[in-house]
Symmetry: C2
Subunit: 485 residues, 2 copies
Amino acid sequence: MIEPLAQILKENCRLDPARPVLVGVSGGPDSLCLLHVLWQLGYPLVVAHYNHGLRPEAEADAAAVGLAAAGLGLSFVTERGDVRAAAETNRLSIEEAARQKRYQFLFEQARQVSAQAVAVGHTADDQVETVLMHLLRGAGLSGLGGMRYRARLAIWSEEIPLVRPLLGVWREEVERYITEQGLAPVLDESNLDPSFYRNRLRRQLLPYLQAYNPRVKELLWQTASLLQEDEAVLEVAVEAAWMDCLLEKGEGALALAFTPLLGLPTGLQRRVLRRALSCLRPGLRDISYDTVRRALSFLSSPAAGGQIDLADGLRLWREGERVWIAGWSADLPTGGWPAVPDQESRELTAPGRLRLGDGWVLEASILAAVPEPGEAPWRRSEAPDPFSAWLDLDRLALPLQVRARRPGDRFRPLGLGGHSLKLSDYFINAKLPQRARLAWPLVLSAGEIAWLPGFAPGEAFRFTPDTRRVLHLRLSQEAAADRPV
Amino acid sequence: MIEPLAQILKENCRLDPARPVLVGVSGGPDSLCLLHVLWQLGYPLVVAHYNHGLRPEAEADAAAVGLAAAGLGLSFVTERGDVRAAAETNRLSIEEAARQKRYQFLFEQARQVSAQAVAVGHTADDQVETVLMHLLRGAGLSGLGGMRYRARLAIWSEEIPLVRPLLGVWREEVERYITEQGLAPVLDESNLDPSFYRNRLRRQLLPYLQAYNPRVKELLWQTASLLQEDEAVLEVAVEAAWMDCLLEKGEGALALAFTPLLGLPTGLQRRVLRRALSCLRPGLRDISYDTVRRALSFLSSPAAGGQIDLADGLRLWREGERVWIAGWSADLPTGGWPAVPDQESRELTAPGRLRLGDGWVLEASILAAVPEPGEAPWRRSEAPDPFSAWLDLDRLALPLQVRARRPGDRFRPLGLGGHSLKLSDYFINAKLPQRARLAWPLVLSAGEIAWLPGFAPGEAFRFTPDTRRVLHLRLSQEAAADRPV
């Protein structure tokens, strides 16, 4: 057993034989075997035991592990926690609370001794049980791959990995090793308690499945290992897709590129979305099948208006090429949109200049001569600047007003034959993002919208063959360096 | 139910509503429901029923399906086969033999009526059972993904796909549909017989698992669908890897590129190997985990000499950059190696020419003048041509002999201080492929190897400062167009 494990430790766990490893030892056969193997192979070790304080023998177990460590000449750390209290406070099962407290302790200790890794004694049997557990609770590729020889678990540590050198060793082999080496494990009676889900799987479900196929444990282990390899291949593809799709990532919000995302095969779309969610909510453990399915069907429906709720307060919506995922309170990037700084109405004379927020400047100038119809400045360019407008000055009441939208605003845009729309409907049709609408500058004449910068002048103020005096309006953004401080 | 199915038929099964579909109808609720739905949606249909002849009611069932088809105004084909005999002859379970005979019939009929697809009535329940069956028997990603809405099964047809429109419909929904539409299915009693593995899963294992999680069926279905999506992503990566790795494919043999293959993540190595095996043995159904694992560990071991047996008479070995997979009897490409045509010894005079096989020509010429040591022709080029040699003519006994290797041949190559090696050992060290060795031309002088073309001159015949007359030997291959016919 020692020799293959030496290789597993190097190649699969990627441990450096010269740097300390913190070994979590419950005192049961698995962790005692792991401790002994690592010690035999000469790894510098610190033995850590978390006393869950759940059973009368807990103190004796801790003492036994301490003795075992001392017997091997190793340093020993232990702590007693109140798992029952933690379970009640955090509404967790005893099993889950114990797990959380234990790992918290192990990684804390690992940081203190600058360990290269935390090693725990999960065996091939544990692996099979984990795979079955995931299968019964619903899982994808990652969950069915079970535990990894080496894993970085962000919730416990960004730097220190968890390693499981015995993941390919069956409990039977562990027992044989324990006997051969004359080791004296403590009996972890919680393993026998069928009220724990995992123990039910071990004691009841697995023997039941073995009646269908006596080799089922070995086959499930192989399946997990195959799926881990497949997962590794997929991760490369996901990384590439993520790079293609991620447009920006701000505080609590990120934007994905719509067209590249929709162009991915569904398996990658799903993973890019999951990655986006866990990017924003690193603690989020279960991103459900349905959540992702809903998001994908929302995005692929041609309308894709509005937004949908995902998980843990995150929502998703689309703004043109941008697919936003953010919490309600996220401080979203403004997108460089023009905006008035507040709800006040400001005056703009002609000629005149008005500073809005963020370097945006609105300018009004009176043209010296009325252009010939064929020479109209808005006809000069193939792509007219929507942030310039030429209006009939004689139809305007000066000074103009500049303000953000208010409830009830209506707009008669050029080209709709004088038809009046609710401004909110116009914005929706124009696919202007909700966030941009709130502070978008409107230019009004006597209370009627004369120009909606970026979109259209008002029908009533348009340049006609009868126009005698022309007002030119222009909205532009100064380079940051040119702005007044 | 009709509306979502209309979409599934278009998008997942990719059926053309204008082209005929052959529907396999046992007469049970699932296939009767499928038939009725397809009929309602206006697909042109041919109803096909395979009579397994296993039960007393078989004839009545066939008649009932025929009546149902006639009731819908559809044409009907049926055949009665001897499943028991097929099972005995091919040593198959009754269940497996029935499956094979049935599909053979369905695809034969589909070809005859130029159907675009064979449609069968597998339901979501069948999917879950399939996934569990694969899990218990050992499977990877592909098997755990279960059945596909649309699949091309090479064993039945290269062109006509099998479609399973009801794969997302639960048996419960089927029953409801049957009742609502007042359809009268026959009772397929074989479904109730717990001696069939699948029926055991259905009647015993699934209810047992539902005690662990009442949603287990739904979750397993979702898992399968997720894994199918992942498989689709992997297939793209596999296709790219296959293109990178495949060097040549001949009759019963193919060669993969060693370095690109070893550079792939294990998950892709595994799939490229599997693909190679199924390329050579299209019928091969189970390529085991162990077979692939052994092949990979053979290739990654630094020695990688010899060869290993894979499956179904295929073996794998490495020749430099080429990883060969072939059956024992495969006619392997020669690799363009020089070869003598038979076991005869031929004479070569100087000057003289000798034609070997396949356009290879050996030429001997006597140099007019002895080159100055610094001007030696073999020093003129940075990369000397191993198919040219300059020897001391006075040490050679003319005519030279040219022949293939014989048992007991030894060689004293230039540069080993006159040390003599078994020629077979020399070939192994030189990594010359086994196949190339047999007919490789040797040039001998009075029974001793004077030159091993491609490798080295013999030490005894080397050019020295005392050399007075020089024999130049050259082995080259004529372009095919220049060869005598």
